[in-house]
């Protein structure tokens, strides 16, 4: 993995602080998350303390610091989904897989992310698992959906 980070960094030969966010985006695109090693590498490259990089990265919702699970769940918390009960859905998912948004379950099967709007308000409340949309989910129906993914193993 290390060589990959180096090759990403090499795309930013000027090594200025302005490139920090694009760099982190590239790394996340490649690895699925920002590892400690990646942050250290970026810090060395930009001569920037790890605390600063972590501070910048946590400011934005887009960065995560744990690897994605086998199944990545995106829960829409946009207005339409909210009105139709996405809070209950999110709560049920958190309870079911035992992690909060931005985390990955211990068995590595699920990871959870809250997104602002998927752009499918007609299907509200909507969630996407590995890019597949599940429409009009409820606190009840989500249990079955998660069970199906779990049984795929």
């Amino acid at each position: 993995m290390e060589t990959n980070i180096k090759s990403i960094l090499n795309n930013y030969p000027e090594g200025s602080a302005d490139s920090l966010i694009p760099m982190l985006q590239d790394i996340q695109e490649h690895d699925g998350f920002l590892s400690k090693e990646a942050v250290i590498e970026v810090g060395k490259y930009l001569k920037m303390p790890a605390s600063k990089i972590f501070g910048v990265a946590t400011f934005y919702n887009q960065f995560r610091f744990t690897p994605l699970g086998k199944n990545h769940i995106q829960v829409c918390r946009g207005t339409a989904c909210h009105v139709l009960g996405s809070a209950t859905v999110l709560e049920e998912i958190e309870k079911n897989i035992g992690v909060k948004s931005g985390q990955t379950s211990r068995d590595g099967i699920f990871s959870l992310e809250v997104v602002a709007c998927i752009g499918a308000c007609g299907l509200a409340p909507v969630i996407a698992i590995n890019g597949n949309f599940h429409a009009k989910v409820t606190g009840e129906s989500i249990k079955e959906i998660l069970e199906n993914y779990r049984n795929q193993e």
């Binding site: 250290i40 303390p49 790890a50 605390s51 600063k52 972590f54 501070g55 946590t58 400011f59």
Partner: protein, 574 residues
């Protein structure tokens, strides 16, 4: 250039380029601040210092707004006071509000503001903070619940110390201050200097206390509890009791320590002299035999950890001498224990230090000899103040006493360790003697005194030119070391102190001291040096005695075993 501005309907003089805050301060108008650090670039984030700009009808931050000619400002209008009060009420809305249990009770800026602005009800109710208490560090406890996010610790850590181990994490109401990946301070690049504690307005940052264990030991009949105190303590403790800054209360402190129950009272300044003997000998040896130059002092544990993290390639430059605290610890449990007929394991050795990093240093594995730790507990100046109050001792009404002998007699050179440049001056005095067999004619090296961040001097020792440098504040050390690495500067000997000003302004000192107070402490140390007759470490009779009876000679076998140590690269999140 100066011009007039109108403040509260009165004309006052302001200087072009200064902030409203500075102009008001000169006129004796107090404006409350939280995020402001004197001498640091303003952040203007807390909005505590807002004043009303009459012409624009806006509230502006006094700390970051420059004065303009003809400006009209109201500093305490109803609108301003309402705004400030609301800020305090908002800060209190998620604050634990547990002042009675807080380490900073009666010495808290948030508490003061709440009182000043007459906050008398819980008008705004918020969800109380609930974050993990970080007790992972050997020196510093972080309680993010009490944090008001002023960011002073973040800025001091980056700008003054050049460490930057903490920063803001997350955003908005989720914001906290923490190290990279929000893991414990112990695995971060924190050097334990405690300057963050010195600037923290609340109890979010404090030193790790060892009170319960200490009190148990004081009451354990099997243990002999002994204490040592650093050179700077006697001139800074007074402020803990509202006595004038820089007042030397050494003899009263001796008496107070005995009243608390410490059986023997030693002066770390004695081992400062011992450090000088070893360090000067090491310098002379390095210069004569072509060893690694520049040699860099190693008595500051904040600096040592900094070097281990950021400059591992320069570790061979560090003097192998332990710090005076650790030398005293080692000498107490060997030389003195033998003299006193005590088993080292039955001695509980406490030190009083102006420093939080000393707590870390005492628990370093290199500082344990055959399972016996050199020093068992470290208290800060502040904690000694608390201890004296806890034992009901009226420092104004006790009879002075002297420290115990041996290990209690010192030269005035050792005393200089408390101020930046002091180790250098003391070392030069003894190195001169070791090289020439004579004494310096003029002891004072004016160029190495004062609060400047980086000082240098060229000394002529019988034709041998010795270049020395003194830095304080680790950000300054960074600049100097980078120049040394690039070969732009050539020195023989460098003194580094982590804290700005040295130990007199250490992270364990009285909180809220002004720059004047720090200068007064410094002056007190130099006054002692002016007044006293034994001005060089090698003439301290107890030093001569310990070499005769026990150590043999500087850099000898015994010294190497007890008084010297080694360092290694540290793998931390930089």
């Amino acid at each position: 250039m100066s011009f007039l501005i109108e403040v509260n309907n009165k004309q006052i003089e302001a200087r072009k380029g200064e902030t409203i805050l500075d102009a008001l301060k000169r006129q004796g108008i107090h404006i409350p601040t939280l995020c402001h650090i004197k001498g640091s670039f303003p952040s203007g984030s807390c909005r505590m210092c807002v004043v009303e700009n009459v012409k624009t009808d806006r509230l502006v931050t006094a700390c970051s707004t420059p004065v303009e000619e003809g400006m009209k400002v109201l500093t305490h209008s109803p609108r301003v006071i309402e705004s400030r009060k609301t800020i305090v009420e908002l800060l209190l809305s998620n604050h634990p509000d547990d002042c009675l249990y807080c380490v900073r009770n009666k010495n808290c800026e948030l508490q003061d503001l709440s009182e000043e602005l007459q906050v008398r009800e819980r008008r705004i109710k918020g969800v109380k903070n609930s974050n993990h208490l970080d007790r992972s560090s050997a020196s510093i406890v972080r309680d993010p619940d009490k944090c008001i996010l002023c960011g002073r610790c973040v800025r001091i850590c980056e700008d003054v110390m050049g460490v930057a181990c903490i920063d803001f994490i997350n955003r908005g109401s989720q914001s906290v201050i923490g190290s990279a990946f929000n893991i414990g301070l112990n695995t971060s690049s924190c050097v334990n200097c405690g300057q963050c504690i010195m600037v923290c307005p609340t109890g979010a940052l404090s030193e790790k206390s060892h009170f319960p264990e200490l009190i148990a030991m004081l009451n354990n009949p099997e243990k002999t509890v002994v204490v040592q105190y650093a050179p700077s303590i006697s001139v800074s403790l007074a402020e803990e009791f509202k006595l004038p800054a820089g007042l030397d209360i050494n003899s009263l402190m001796n008496a107070a320590l005995r009243k608390i129950g410490f059986k023997y009272v030693f002066d770390t300044t004695f081992t400062a002299d011992l450090t000088i003997m070893e360090e000067a000998a090491e310098l002379v040896e390095r210069v004569k035999t072509g060893g690694t130059i520049p040699m860099i002092t190693s008595c500051c544990p904040g600096w040592v950890k900094f070097a281990e993290e950021f400059y591992p390639e320069m570790l061979p430059n560090l003097s192998s001498c332990k710090s005076p605290q650790q030398m005293m610890g080692a000498v107490i449990k060997t030389y003195w224990a033998e003299k006193a007929g005590l088993k080292p394991e039955n001695i509980y050795s406490v030190s009083i230090m102006p420093c939080t990093a000393k707590k870390f240093e005492a628990q370093r594995e290199e500082m344990t000899n055959k399972g016996i730790t050199d020093v068992d507990a470290v208290l800060t100046t502040r904690e000694l103040g608390q201890l004296i109050r806890m034992f009901g001792i009226d420092i104004n009404n006790i009879a002075p006493e002297t420290a115990d002998s041996p290990l209690g007699f010192r030269s005035s050179a050792g005393k200089l360790f408390g101020a930046t440049g002091g180790v250098m001056e003391a070392a030069v005095r003894t190195a001169y003697n070791m090289l020439t067999g004579e004494e310096l004619l003029r002891f004072k090296i004016e160029a190495l005194r004062g609060l400047d961040g980086c000082k240098e001097a060229s000394l002529d020792i019988n034709g041998l030119i010795v270049n020395v440098a003194v830095v304080n504040g680790l950000a300054n050390a960074r600049i100097l070391l980078d120049q040394v690495k690039k070969g732009k500067k050539n020195y023989h000997f460098i003194e580094v102190m982590a804290c700005p000003g040295g130990c007199i302004n250490g992270g364990g000192q009285h909180i809220g001291a002004s720059e004047e107070a720090v200068k007064a402490r410094m002056k007190a140390l130099y006054d002692i040096d002016d007044k006293e007759t034994i001005k060089v470490s090698h003439k301290n009779p107890e030093i001569i005695q310990i070499y005769k009876d026990f150590l043999g000679k500087p850099l000898g076998h015994k010294s190497h075993e007890l008084l010297h140590t080694h360092y290694c690269k540290r793998d931390v999140l930089l």
